[in-house]
Amino acid sequence: MKIALNWLAKYIDLPSSVDELDRLLTFAGIEVEGITPMPALPETVFSARILSAEPVPKSDHLHLCKVDIGSYSYPEKDENACVQIICGAPNCRSGLMVLIAMPGTALPEFTISKAKIRGVESHGMLCSEKELGISDNHGGIIELPSDTTIGVPANELYGLPDTVFELEITPNRPDLLGYIGIARDLSAKLNRPLRMPEVKLPEPVSTQLELPLKLINQNRDLCPRYTARLFSNVQIKESPLWLKSCLIKSGLRPINNLVDITNFVLLEQGHPLHAFDYSKLAPIANEQIPAIVIRTAENKEEFISLDSKSYLLDGDELVIADGEKPSALAGVMGGKISAISQQTTSIVLESAAFEPGSIRKTSYKHKISTDSSYRFERHLSEYTVEAASLRAAQLICELADATMCSTVHDDWQSPSVPIILGIRPKRYEQVIGYYMDGDKIMDFLGKLGLSFLQYGNWKPGQIASIEDVFCHHGEEMKRGVTEFTELPDCVHTLYFRVPPYRVDLEREIDLIEELARLDGYDAAPARKVQPSIMDRHAYRIKRQMTDYVVSRGCYETLNYSFTDAALMQKLGYNANDPEMKMITLRNPQSSAMSVMRTSLIPQLLINLAYNINHGEKNVKLFELGKTYLLDNAKHVELVQLSAVITGVDRDEHWQDKAVKLGLYHAKGLVEELLELLGISGCTVSAVNKPFLASGDGYSYIQNDREIAYFGKLSAPIAEAFGIDLIDLKQDVWLINLDADRIVELCRYINLKFKPIPRYPSVTRDLSFLIDDSVMYRDIRDGIMSLDSSIIGDVSVFDEYRGKQIPEGKRSLSIHIKFQDLEKTLTDERIDHLVESVITMLKETWQINMR
């Protein structure tokens, strides 16, 4: 909904800044979707009259106009105070009051200058609304009312500068679908008075001019209230400029005074109206008096809308009919036959309340959504019918010189009873978190239009009669008696009558919401955020590590935290190694449990030997546990994950043969886990542990610290732990991950999505012989670094040593994947890239392709 501030300011004093209003509305729960400033126009745009308009020869649309600019001072003005202007607008004609922009005027999109068109001088421009930035209407030049004085600045005529707020009203607040509703909420939020428009009706005239009407309401469920006012001597003409500009700024097109008035009231009061041409209303069969019949449509009944479209009704729709046929789809759209036209002289003004569900169904079924249906389907009260009708009546009398008939037809059989609700300040505190006293509650709710009735005892739900909660204390409180030493129990509830336009206020909690919203949600006391006791990241990562190792076929072991120092010596450690600086128990049960473990490996080897001795061939064990280190006499507890694996990669299977666990399995266990945790960029070096065979493992180093290693258990160490590798006929692989450090390394990793390539990738294969001394990793890095924007990946798919390959060499086959993010790769480009790879391999390692 578009709200222009100059209009809104008629009902309430607005805050001085637009930003402040934006903030106020937003935090009152009214979403501001956009703010469009309408800046002041230069003073060189003003009203003027076209004295003559002659077609320009050889042009099908240009006119040469003499335009009277009155007393405006302009050097090239002629003796009749006229300037010459070429105008191409279709509605350009002599006698028209227009808005002229004189040469030098800077308009929103361009600057006017003196010009020569078809050899004729043109001193300025006659403007359309769009050219002035008032609306999007570019149908022709502005036609001002003919009684406008020449020389009035456009700013004055259109109320500029102005600002238009585009507001999003939530579906629970139909009362906000008009200027007054918005002003009322602001009045409560700002604690400023609301100025309702003063409605003064002329005295109804004598009964000779009374127009007879037969009003029949056949469906009170769908139309609980229908009112009709009749007017004669109506003059259909243009609306005054103030009314037009109100509509234009709120996004509506002016049509004629009567239609504009109903639209104005719709915008102001939020309640849609409709006007019928009285003379077009047919009487009921065999009668003479024009009729309005509120009924549901007949099946297959035709309805022709204002915009000449035909709709076939199916009988569910509520229609406003005359004695014969539908004149309007109730609350949705008017009909063509009874529409207001230039010839209309007497009218029926409808103001009614409709059942929202029925309006919604009709609007949805026939795909007609109007400003009217939008409001009715959100539920408008039966009570706002009256105010809207009165306001329109006043304007019709004033602006259409109409005579109002004295009879007001009002079919209202069972007015709904206004709701009375109680609110307990204590309950407010319970729900919102702070106490709001009775005075403040009265202030806020009073501004919203609720009337305070009484203090009283708490009674849940809607109150039928205030007598039900009456108590004399409440009466005294209301009168201002406050000399109670302590409030009596009976006055802890404030009772209010809810105004009928607030159909959304039905329970105490609805009032609490209103109060909290108006006081601002930030008034609720903020508590300090509790710091986290749990290290959720560490907890999750450790679980993920063990889940992974388990998924790779390892069984978890748990071993004592204390162990035997001799085991570390068996592993090959010397007294000087940090692993041998162990925390010693003062009162151990035995030497086997006399020191705290500094490594999980010895116990895993004992577990391995135990299981091999019990006939197991394929053993994969791990432990995630603490090791206990002495660091300068300080105790440090460090969680490690160690694993020992030997045998085949999985159970024997008759079809899918198991593979013997080797170096690349152990390596994969470490590297896949690091990859899963998002840790990349480790440097590697040959592992160096006294119990591992040299040259068959890696240490993984990040920030100069080892975070993981893997390697092959050396035969003498195995023997020391009772494992005969020759007998076993398989290698034993050890893996260790520094869990605590890995947890820290992945604590702040922040992955960012990369766009999916839109062009296909291309893969080329290369095969070549290399010396055993050349590392695949170096080759891969070398190729990748050639052009990282195009070379997406390098992977090896075959390694071969054998008959045709010389000793000390091997054959490698690799895929190179090319991917350009910007365009499709051409063969020439790839050939060129492959060539540069080959050249690089040759120059760096003297590698030739096979």
Partner: protein, 344 residues
């Protein structure tokens, strides 16, 4: 020419029916309907005919063409369906042969119980807090209201370290560490290793695992403790399990209690496991002693709290019917494999 056309159609029919795979069909299609087909050749020869015969013969060619097209489409469908059916039928697979599994691994039963307990507490809004195994006298004894000459400080019960320090005898030490650093409200569960100088035997181990729960807030009462215990027990052991607490003594709780659950083996009727009492002892519990609060700087007039501790080995042994605690530390694959199905 008319004869030529008839021959062509007859030959086409034969060739089409001889197609046994999709490739053949494609070839025949190219042969009879392609740009250089005989049929197209006949079209080119139309002008050899007298003007008046041309339309009729043109129609005839078109009809033949349509006929051949239909035959080809029908044969293509037939050939394709035959191929599908040949793949579907004639299978002599023995479905009962063993499936392909990925490598089989699993968690240790104590970890399984620990994770389950963690998850129960996390789901009840607790945070998991851990602390060091190596502790000082203050956190293990003094702060827990255990005076210097208390019998539990004996060498026979506690492992002490050369150069100072000891191995914590219960996870209550984490209570103290958390309360030292964080203000209430506090809801934590602290699982971890504990140490007591007991010789390994069927029901003792010098290294064992506990979970301790601690709740500190305004208005926490013994009723909250019993409610939490029964809620915990019903999640861990099933909705039908009963709980009770009995008065007991711990230095750091007042009142103190021991908590029991109804025997998970006999359901409370009495059996060998529960020594015919119908109840199984689960651990210690109680309201946090005001002295403990004072030590960590929490005002016991404002805050109250409860704590309880559970032995993980005991729960595992009960739940899985493991007769001897030492089995849990042997790491025998024949034991570990049994719990693969619990590693969820």
């Amino acid at each position: 020419m008319r004869e030529q056309l008839n021959e062509l159609v007859q030959q086409a029919e034969k060739d089409i029916q001889a197609c046994s795979n999709q490739n053949d069909v494609m070839n025949v299609k190219a042969q009879y309907l392609g740009k250089k087909s005989l049929l197209n050749g006949l079209f080119a020869r139309l002008r050899e005919l007298p003007q008046e015969e041309r339309p009729a013969f043109g129609n005839l060619i078109n009809e033949s063409r349509t006929k051949i097209e239909n035959l080809i489409d029908a044969q293509a469908k037939k050939v394709k369906e035959a191929a599908w059916n040949s793949k579907a039928a004639g299978s002599n697979t023995d479905l009962s042969m063993p499936s392909i599994f990925s490598a089989k691994g699993g968690y240790h039963p104590l970890s399984i119980i620990r994770k389950e307990i963690d998850d129960v507490f996390i789901s009840m809004g607790y945070e998991i807090a851990e602390g060091p195994d190596i502790e000082d006298d203050f956190h293990n004894f003094d702060a827990l209201n255990t005076p210097a000459n208390h019998p539990s400080r004996n060498l026979a019960d506690t492992f002490y370290l050369v150069g100072g320090g000891l191995l914590r005898t219960q996870t209550s030490t984490v209570q103290i560490r958390v309360m030292e650093s964080f203000a209430p409200p506090i809801r934590i569960a602290s699982p971890g290793r504990c140490y007591r100088n007991d010789k390994p035997d069927p029901s003792h181990s010098p290294v064992f695992h506990q979970v301790e729960a601690l709740v500190v807030d305004k208005g926490i009462s013994l009723a909250d403790l019993t409610n939490t215990l029964s809620q915990f027990a019903s999640i861990m052991f099933g909705a039908n399990v009963g709980t009770r607490i009995r008065p007991h003594f711990f230095p750091f709780t007042e009142p103190s209690a021991e908590m029991d659950i109804s025997c998970v083996v006999c359901g409370g009727a009495g059996c060998r496991v529960c020594k015919h009492s119908g109840w199984l002892e689960m651990g210690g519990a109680g309201m946090v002693d005001p002295n403990v609060f004072k030590t960590v700087g929490i005002d016991p007039e404002i805050y109250t709290g409860f704590a309880f501790g559970l032995g993980i080995e005991r729960i595992a042994m009960l739940k899985y019917n493991i007769p001897d605690m030492r089995i849990l530390f042997e790491n025998d694959l024949r034991m570990l494999r049994q719990f693969r199905g619990e590693s969820r």
